[in-house]
Symmetry: C2
Subunit: 292 residues, 2 copies
Amino acid sequence: MSLEKVSANRVANGVLTKYKFPSSALGLETSVNVYVPDGAEASPVPVLFYLAGLTCTEDTGAQKGGMFNSAGKHRIALVFPDTSPRGAGVEGEDDDWQLGTGAGFYINATNPKWKHYNMYDLIAKELPEVLGAASLGLDFSRFSITGHSMGGHGALTIYLKDPARFRSCSAFAPICNPSRVPWGQGAFGAYLLTRTRSSPPAEWLPHDASHLLAQSDAEKLNILVDVGTADQFLTAGQLTPEALEQAYEERKKKGRSDDFDLRRQEGYDHSYYFISTFSPEHVDFHAKYLNA
Amino acid sequence: MSLEKVSANRVANGVLTKYKFPSSALGLETSVNVYVPDGAEASPVPVLFYLAGLTCTEDTGAQKGGMFNSAGKHRIALVFPDTSPRGAGVEGEDDDWQLGTGAGFYINATNPKWKHYNMYDLIAKELPEVLGAASLGLDFSRFSITGHSMGGHGALTIYLKDPARFRSCSAFAPICNPSRVPWGQGAFGAYLLTRTRSSPPAEWLPHDASHLLAQSDAEKLNILVDVGTADQFLTAGQLTPEALEQAYEERKKKGRSDDFDLRRQEGYDHSYYFISTFSPEHVDFHAKYLNA
């Protein structure tokens, strides 16, 4: 697997490098931005993935997320993957911003029409392997994940499917219960074949953060979530943080003592102005576990 | 003069509002982003202008500059003007990214062909008047200015023409000596009528930071400049920070004791990754004078 360097920019006492490589998960070339603080080759650093939302690319979080100075201070690497395959050639994939290009939803499609759409495998398996093997100084034994909106759904579900692999998870305005809201229903309905007639289909539930949290048997979960009260997609019923809170009540019944905080931020919306306001606090949250 | 609100986003314990208004300086409508920390109506806050570079708009610094959290912490308002008139209708104004649209160079054109291009008046006169009169809680008796590249040239020249109006000035990778480098020569040659045959023309010198600094009789100047050593436009000879340093030597000969710091930042380039790395330090620098 050969990483090809596309560009490099010095930022926050480190270097942000854009790589491209032929992804075996996607069967297509993909791009990823990787920030590595100075000195990581000699003294490897922990890794925080940032998963972006609908319509975004590997550049959006890097350009607007406001995370570098905090990451540099804590000596944490940041990885910004793309949000979908590019050029998969699916009919109509560029027609709707909520499906197809820019809208991979961080799952593996089971509908053969979307055969390249295996963003779960890209994020959870291939990127850690490829970047870990590339002698960049990344220590994937200290690994955390965050994301925004669709990417907040991605961060939470990838974390909750295998929490032992991660130190912590956070999310900005995540889609908390995708199997019951239009964004998730549209994506899951397209990407996932269903045989069950339940509502929501059983095949959707392993990709739903609220379902996964309620079911989780993990010893201790470390989760920070921020949602703005003026978020237009909160109002539109796409985010439903109350479902995640309800699921957390199920967890508590098991006697688990998690580090779980879901904060409603008064007056903030869905934009990167919201993210960049709170992203330093999210990096601090992850640093507590990554550098423990 | 009626400010029309275009949009508003909560950020860093304040609100970023985009306004548009018919500018009398430009003879055209212009847009401006204004960040005001909470509580400014009751307790007015000082103001920092950020002037963006070639090809940028009023959104670029807001989206990528990374200044809000620092500004919020120090309770400083931020103002992000546009970089040129829009739709002035000059033949060819959209053909070259270094001239015309997106390239106003923060001067008043004297060539009638460019009659709308009066960005100096917009920034130095009209915006402080219009925003100061709008009951936003902005205290223009505490006023500082910063900018990037062409906007660094703008910040330095607007400051040096009338330093008593400002508490401090800073710049990221400014064009320090525009009358002697291709970017400035192209812009000044187009926008400014010249009668003199000197080289550079005498009409250009009032818009050249190095000339203004060498000539300045101000009691004390407060200037911070950062330039990346891997800046492609430094290498190309467009920025020439050594000219500003040389001019500062002239100032020192007058026995002035300025707060002047021109830093070369190893390995940084011309991008917003460079700006966002150091912008919190620039806000800290201005806060020292704005909140004194």
